[in-house]
């Protein structure tokens, strides 16, 4: 695809936290693009750096965190060189964000109506009355019954699912080009999750926006994303279109993640396990960060960090198995051999 089809381009992003003089690299050299109108998912476990990546796009990293290097550009404009003032004009307008915790993400002392209309007042300069009218329309769009009454309510009077709808209304009020959704359904029950995901998909096609979806749930990824990046310990280990990723995952971590997932739709005997724990941020392995837990790890994996290399089909993987320098067992099939390799 050509360059100008991407709404968002992130390259070599490094976001670190400086704690007692140490640099903790939460996001370490992430490169990812979001094509126009598409949904790109970032999947990973806690500590993988996926949420910090999304906050970096918004430039909402708070002290002691800092974007150290890299570039983030939206429609060709460099976001990192923008002033705080210019960023404020973009936020909630061209780029919006919804968060994991609908219960705490709304201000408890303002009504729902006040919180939605604020966006119209900031970005479109509407009067109080016009903004409220627009807010009612927006609540209707996100499927909240009797919106005229709802705008007068405070967040604590709404259920979790309703609050997340309000968050979506706030995010989409100004028709953004890019919606960043950070675990938008994790705190919700499954039947409500289904409603919210459905709503995001519907609005995406109506409004033509792109979605950058952060999640730990492979099911949510399979259902909503066009492209997926798998993150592990601050780095992207695999990037693929959603069908390739689930049909033939390449990185051993992706395979491990899929095989350790208990499924409700099929029977599984024993779950395949990823042994050990995620490395501590201050104590990263020298070579591949997954090597200490990887059943295929060989000498080169422990010594040198592999690059995120492009495969023939345009997907990418950060693993020595697919390089010419691979020094482990020949003819590895990561999916079929994952379990047996672990038992050796």
């Amino acid at each position: 695809m050509s360059q100008n089809e991407n709404v968002l381009e992130i390259s070599d992003l490094r976001t670190s936290f400086f704690i007692e003089g140490d640099e903790i690299k939460a996001v370490d050299g992430v490169t990812i693009n979001v094509p126009k109108g598409k949904t790109v998912g970032v999947v990973g476990e806690s500590g993988s750096g996926k949420s910090i990546t999304s906050l970096s796009i918004m430039r909402l990293i708070q002290h002691p965190g800092e974007i150290v290097e890299g570039s983030i550009s939206m429609n060709g404009e460099d976001l990192l060189s923008k002033s705080e003032r210019q960023m404020q004009q973009l936020r909630g307008n061209q780029i919006s964000m919804i968060f994991q915790e609908p219960m705490t993400s709304l201000n408890p002392v303002y009504t729902v109506g006040e919180q939605i209309s604020e966006v119209y007042r900031i970005h479109q300069g509407l009067s109080k009355k016009e903004a409220l009218t627009k807010s009612v329309e927006m609540l209707e769009l996100v499927g909240i019954p009797s919106p005229k009454e709802r705008i007068k309510q405070y967040p604590h009077e709404l259920s979790g699912g309703m609050r997340q709808r309000v968050m979506i209304a706030i995010a989409l009020a100004c028709n953004p080009e890019l919606l960043i959704a950070d675990e938008p359904t994790t705190a919700l029950d499954v039947t409500i999750q289904a409603q919210i995901l459905e709503l995001i998909k519907k609005l995406q096609s109506q409004l033509g926006m792109s979605v950058f979806l952060i999640t730990h749930d492979l099911g949510v990824v399979a259902e909503t994303c066009d492209y997926v990046a798998v993150m592990y310990a601050g780095k992207i280990v695999e990037y693929a279109d959603v069908h390739s990723l689930f049909r033939s995952p390449k990185h051993p971590y992706t395979v491990g993640l899929m095989q350790s997932l208990p499924r409700h739709d099929i029977d599984q005997e024993e779950l395949n396990v990823i042994e050990g724990n995620v490395p501590k941020p201050g104590n990263m392995p020298d070579g591949c960060r997954f090597a200490p837990r990887c059943p295929f790890a060989s000498d080169i994996c422990e010594k040198r960090l592999p690059d995120l290399d492009e495969l023939e089909n345009g997907n990418k993987v950060r693993c020595w198995i697919y390089s010419d320098e691979w020094d482990g067992k020949a003819e590895v099939n990561v999916v079929d051999d994952y379990k047996t390799a672990g038992n050796q």
């Binding site: 476990e45 806690s46 019954p145 259920s159 699912g161 309703m162 029950d189 499954v190 039947t191 409500i192 999750q193 289904a194 409603q195 995901l197 459905e198 730990h216 749930d217 492979l218 099911g219 949510v220 990824v221 399979a222 259902e223 909503t224 959603v242 069908h243 689930f246 049909r247 491990g256 993640l257 899929m258 350790s260 997932l261 208990p262 499924r263 409700h264 739709d265 029977d267 599984q268 024993e270 779950l271 395949n272 396990v273 990823i274 042994e275 724990n277 995620v278």
Partner: protein
């Protein structure tokens, strides 16, 4: 030959709501409303449902962490609700619980050794001299190393802390363990480790689990039988295979269809549910699911459906719906 280890009959748990100028009880949250089930020795019965369905309250009531409003809880033939405090304390040796966040239920100033020692000394499981051996054995069982013996809870990761919680539950050699969302807070890769551990322990120690969870993937993996709860009532119960492959209650069906499948080429048709779960303070009349059910009729509004068997159910499968037959035959179509 299976024996019933735990049997619950007509369990009700109402929590009073105070209000008005003088703080009188003005209403009740009917968290659990007339629930009956049993758990066979050596099996895992899971209770699933969305938040507020009463699954955790049921688990707590079994251990008498909250005293139930009414009902009968029989464990190995003893009526647990008839026991006094001291007798109940002794009984807790056989009945243990593992919480969602063990960190919240262990003393952060105690080391692993102290936590386990305390658990054993309360129940006087072993003579003092033999406890140390038992502690080492427990650590090994749950996959922790002996070098971690004198560490404090905060020095462990989430998955390891859950292992400490399991070790503490096992310290008194229980027969029955309530797992209350025990793996919900863990990352997938760690969750799999803990699930495998729980399964292996069940085989080795002949444990019986009451497994409370909202994640149906986890439930399918660990259970023998499954009970689905909605607003304080069991709507469907039966063998795992039946519940997942032959669900009869519209709520069970919609719950199953709502879960995103981690396979983009195999996306299912979804049964859409309207709105939110109603409040358990004033639950809907009749079938509690009727306000969201796409098949609801006048009868559902007025009559509470009982758990019952229909012809293509096998095993102990039962569901509480008036219209199972019509829905199955296609005579009733969903009304969105």
């Amino acid at each position: 030959m299976t024996t019933k280890l735990l049997e619950i009959n007509n369990l009700k748990q109402y929590f009073p709501i105070k209000g008005g100028i003088f703080g009188r009880t003005v209403n009740h949250v009917k968290a659990v409303d007339d629930v009956s089930f049993y758990v066979n020795e050596g099996e895992t019965l899971s209770i699933v449902g969305e938040s507020g369905c009463g699954k955790s309250t049921t688990g707590r009531a079994v251990l008498r962490l909250d005293d139930p409003t009414s009902g009968e809880i029989t464990f190995q033939g003893d009526d647990l609700l008839a026991l006094n405090k001291q007798q109940m304390r002794r009984k807790r040796k056989d009945l243990q619980i593992i919480f969602q966040d063990p960190y919240a239920s262990i003393n952060p100033r105690q080391t692993v050794r102290q936590i386990l020692e305390e658990a054993m000394s309360i129940q006087k499981v072993l003579p003092k001299a033999e406890r140390m051996d038992k502690i080492m054995e427990l650590l090994d069982t749950v996959g922790l190393g002996s070098h971690q013996l004198d560490r404090f809870p905060h020095e462990f990761s989430g998955g390891q802390r859950q292992r400490i919680g399991i070790a503490r539950a096992l310290a008194v050699d229980p027969k029955f363990i309530v797992c209350d969302e025990s793996v919900s807070a863990l990352d997938v890769s760690i969750q799999a480790q803990v699930l495998n551990l729980l399964k292996q322990l069940q085989r080795d120690l002949n444990l019986t689990y009451l497994f409370i969870a909202h994640d149906l993937g986890v439930v399918r993996h660990i259970s023998d039988r499954v009970a689905v709860m909605y607003l304080g009532k069991i709507v469907e119960i039966g063998e795992k295979k039946e519940i997942f492959d032959n669900p009869k209650h519209p709520y069970t069906k919609s719950l199953l269809s709502a879960i995103p499948v981690p396979d983009p080429s195999n996306q299912q048709e979804r049964i859409h549910l309207k709105g939110d779960v109603p409040s358990p303070i004033d639950p809907p009349t009749g079938c509690r699911f009727h306000t969201r059910c796409p098949f609801a009729t006048e009868k559902c509004k007025n009559e509470v459906p009982e758990l019952r068997v229909t012809k293509d159910m096998t095993g102990t499968h039962q569901a509480a719906c008036h219209h199972i037959e019509e829905i199955e035959s296609g005579a009733k179509q969903p009304n969105y």
